[in-house]
């Protein structure tokens, strides 16, 4: 079956599409973790929140595009609010405190959504222009998923240029590389971090909106995705764009092809990949800080 070129190509596209979604969330989590050593598990909650906002927008008569324009900003605003009100307090308290706090936020978030929207999963319709499938060299592939792949590539390129070619990008890279020295040089890492956090949360919001038509909107989607994103970040390496890209591709492909080759062990394949990578590269494949003192 795998030898059928059409089937194989279709699964490559499926893997790419899934990788893009993982990337949208992983990059925010990875840079935040890499820059401030802050393990924010509530990243998935933002993703879920944005999906619910998108649902509400479409219920009120808005289009998918309206939701895509609006929801990530709302998500970023909520994320920043959470940061300044709650998350900032345990910035220097170590990973355990951060995990405890953000897991608490996960529980709260899930229950809040449950209270507001009920337990039943909700649907968001795909935009009309992307409904249906495209004939790509003999494969009939859903247009919406192609859109997701395209969107991911655009975001990847934009982030690459932002990180490598802009001053802000340089500041971020400096902060990830060696925070203490960067601060000595007069860089206000606090402000840089708040901005990075906002952008990361915004991207998580984008992820939530674009994932909603394929994956649905339901309480618990935050936990499902954060586990995968954490694996991506750990495998790819902390704090680097290249790491997030490589990690998402690796996990996206491992998951999709794992499902076909060994459906009963689909989950295990991902964990196996993670275990293998960590055995040979404990800090991930392409972390920003290879020789870090605070790892």
């Amino acid at each position: 079956m795998l030898l059928d070129p059409y089937f194989f190509a279709e699964q490559v596209l499926n893997s790419l599409q899934f990788s893009m979604l993982l990337f949208l969330l992983a990059i925010g989590l990875s840079v935040v973790f890499g820059l401030m050593d802050y393990l924010n598990l509530a990243h998935g909650t933002i993703y879920m929140f944005a999906a619910y906002v998108a649902f509400t927008v479409t219920q009120l008569g808005g289009s998918f595009w309206a939701a895509l324009a609006l929801a990530p900003f709302v998500a970023a605003a909520v994320g920043l609010l959470l940061y300044f009100l709650l998350l900032k307090r345990v910035e220097r308290s170590g990973h355990l405190a951060q995990v405890l706090l953000t897991v608490g936020i996960i529980y709260m978030g899930t229950d809040l959504m449950r209270i507001a929207y009920g337990d039943l999963p909700k649907g968001v319709a795909q935009p009309d222009v992307l409904k249906g499938a495209v004939n790509l060299f003999g494969i009939l592939y859903p247009s919406y998923r192609l859109f997701l792949i395209g969107l991911g590539l655009v975001v990847m390129t934009a982030l690459y240029f932002a990180l490598e070619r802009t001053r802000l990008g340089a500041l971020v890279r400096a902060g990830v590389d060696d925070r203490a020295t960067a601060e000595t040089l007069g860089i206000d890492i606090g402000k840089v971090f708040a901005l990075v956090f906002a952008i990361g949360t915004y991207l998580a919001g984008v992820g939530g909106v674009v994932a909603a038509p394929i994956f649905g909107v339901y309480p618990g989607m935050d936990v499902t995705i954060i586990i995968l994103v954490l694996i991506v970040v750990v495998v790819g390496g902390l704090g680097s764009l290249k790491g997030a890209i490589l990690g998402s591709l690796l996990i996206g492909f491992a998951d999709t092809f794992g499902k076909i080759l060994l459906p009963q062990f689909a989950m295990m394949i991902i964990y196996l990949v993670m275990a293998l990578v960590l055995t040979f590269r404990p800090t991930g494949l392409l972390p920003a800080r290879r020789f870090s003192t605070s790892v």
């Binding site: 079956m1 059928d4 699964q11 394929i214 649905g216 989607m221 499902k259 076909i260």
Partner: protein, 395 residues
């Protein structure tokens, strides 16, 4: 003087006891999900149960019916603890209303040892009225085999000879698939593939749909529930399979509660079920009306099964004239109850302790801008195989 006082006191105590006995409520416990994955089903079931008490009760032979619902959070360990609480500290006369098969299997030995009859309102694992049957456990809902077995020959007769099975990997789909496969293959059908995806962990069904498509079946038999049912249906449509390879299913995959989320992706899906809200019998019309008045929503199969499990409890209590402390008589009485439910004629089968009922084949069609079930066929009076159950006599 003292003697008179004593006698008076004794009389007072005795009269207090008998007065208390007359007012003793008929306590029924329920173990449903009010937290966790199955809250929507649990809520509907509880609604149905309460409606039954209102309509058929609220008393039996002068005794108030008291319903105590406990939460098992979709976790059988919690369910077991709650069962112990209901039996030992709340001293319920009966447990009528158990959702989860795992919980039912856990509490069956405990309830049987304590001689508390249990009426299951879902818990559809075949074993509960099969190898793991108990003289104290009854099922007012359905056994997986009742829904799956009649569907096999029906599907084969309609010309769907090659079927690809896709399901979530846990016990219910596997049981459904196994029962279906047996009767389907006997009727000349062929299962050309059977693939299960990790339960509640799968979001992307693309790879599985692609595998199904490459086997070129006449139909895809899907076993997904809740969020997975929505995702699967939408992805089935978005990959262009809708209209090319028909989808068939069993109850739970295209239920009323997922209508909004599944939308038109499930148009044309044929399912076998034991209830659809669109049934036109007089009991169902009355039931839907009463449910709508009380709960402002249309009733699903969970509400009906909750209602029916209470009805079995109350009718049995009536048969023993309210003397529910005689547990053996009460349990025997449950075996003798039969009535016309909203889902058609139901009868407790004394040999299996499983309700015999109609099985319906229905197709989802678009009516206006909503999806509804359209009844295609009725398979009357389906029972289960009694041979697997070796029940000890009640004592």
């Amino acid at each position: 003087m003292r003697r008179a006082l004593c006698a008076g006191a004794v009389c007072a105590v005795l009269s207090m006891n008998s007065a208390a006995l007359a007012a003793d409520p008929f306590k029924i416990g329920g173990i449903l999900a009010t937290t966790g994955n199955d809250v929507p089903q649990g809520t509907e079931m509880a609604n149905g149960m309460r409606l039954a008490i209102e309509q058929i009760g609220p008393q039996v032979n002068g005794r108030d019916i008291q319903l105590l619902i406990e939460d098992d959070g979709s976790n059988p360990n919690t369910g077991l603890q709650k069962a112990r609480k209901l039996i030992q500290s709340d001293k319920v006369d009966m447990i009528a209303g158990v959702l989860l098969s795992a919980t039912a299997l856990a509490i069956s030995p405990v309830a049987s040892a304590a001689k508390v009859p249990v009426i299951l309102s879902l818990a559809s694992a075949n074993a509960l009225t099969g190898e793991k049957c108990s003289p104290w456990v009854f099922r007012a809902s359905y056994a997986n085999s009742q829904i799956a077995e009649p569907f096999g020959p029906w599907i084969a007769a309609k010309g769907y000879k090659n079927i690809f099975i896709l399901g979530a990997d846990f016990v219910t789909p596997r049981e459904f698939a196994g029962d279906f496969r047996r009767t389907f293959e006997k009727a000349g059908g062929k299962v050309v593939g059977e693939v299960y995806s990790p339960f509640n962990k799968t979001q992307d069904f693309g790879p599985y749909l692609a595998q199904a498509r490459s086997a070129n079946p006449d139909a895809i038999l899907a076993f997904y529930y809740g969020a997975e049912a929505i995702l699967f249906a939408k992805q089935y449509e978005s990959f262009g399979l809708k209209g090319k390879i028909p989808m068939i299913a069993m109850l739970g995959t295209t239920p009323v509660m997922l209508r909004q989320a599944q939308g038109s992706s499930v148009d044309g899906v044929i399912s076998s079920l034991n209830y659809i809200p669109e049934l036109q019998n007089p009991e169902n019309i009355a039931f839907q009306k009463a449910y709508r008045e009380k709960f402002h929503a249309s009733a699903s199969e969970f509400a009906v099964m909750g209602y029916d499990s209470m009805r079995f409890a109350i009718e049995a209590a009536k048969k023993v004239n309210g003397h529910v402390e005689d547990r053996v008589a009460l349990a025997k009485a449950i075996s003798q109850v039969s009535f016309n439910s909203a889902r058609g004629p139901t009868r407790m089968n004394p040999a299996t302790h499983q309700v015999d009922q109609n099985v319906y084949i229905a197709k989802i069609v678009k009516k206006g801008d909503a999806e509804v079930f359209d009844l295609i066929d009725t398979i009357p009076n389906v029972s289960t195989d009694a041979s697997a159950c070796k029940m000890a006599p009640l004592q």
